[in-house]
Amino acid sequence: MVRVQAADFDPGAELAALRLGKSQIGALASFVGLVRELNDGAGVSELTLEHYPGMTEKALEEIIAEARRRWTLIEVLLIHRVGRLLPTDQIVLVAVASAHRGEAFAACEFIMDYLKTRAPFWKREVTAAGARWVEARLADEQAAERWRD
């Protein structure tokens, strides 16, 4: 399931709902991405996430479909926020439920690595020196490359 929303989310409630009544789940791995107050050596006072409505949802669904082709997964949830955020705010939640931990850990990391390089989101941050668009990082590209067959 994919949700792109401005509103915050409650990871505990989301994880509880994801596994409710599914006794075949033996592992539930999750990741929460947060707004850091420091990026590239500058203090960040706010962050705005722009996206490409329509394509964003398709890209995220495709990333989850690819994860399901690679691992046996019981449930996958991906929530990504858009709009204006502040330091310490939650940005993204990925939760993966499977029978055993190996699939859940791997798929969770895979989904985040692919999201970072394939989903059409862009971060614009405000620092003391003014507003700037966040540059894509080579490390993110390399992290996604690891999963190439």
């Binding site: 490409y52 990504h80 390089t117 989101f121 862009w122 668009w133």
Partner: protein, 84 residues
């Protein structure tokens, strides 16, 4: 051939607009020739030719610049993504 073209993030700011609808001449048949056509309009549009690591999507799927375009397509240009 009429197309809808979208621009996002820093590119949208540089170009001063987020979308446009254009009737293109016959020679514009793929993303690369569309990019050249748009950049040739001069002024801020030259950014489309010079910007590093430009990305493109046709009908909301990321594609390479040699991908064909057809009437009614939705083409988007944007910088590398930075979500998550």
């Amino acid at each position: 051939m009429v197309l809808k073209i979208l621009y996002f993030a820093s590119l949208r700011e540089t170009l001063g607009q987020g979308s446009e609808q254009l009737d293109l001449p016959p020679g514009v048949t793929d993303v690369a020739s569309l990019r050249c056509f748009l950049a040739a309009r001069g002024d801020q549009w030259q950014a489309l030719a010079t910007v590093r690591n430009l990305r493109c999507a046709v009908n909301q799927e990321m594609v390479r610049f040699d991908s064909p375009i057809r009437a009614g397509d939705e083409v988007a240009f944007f910088p590398p993504v930075t979500g998550g």
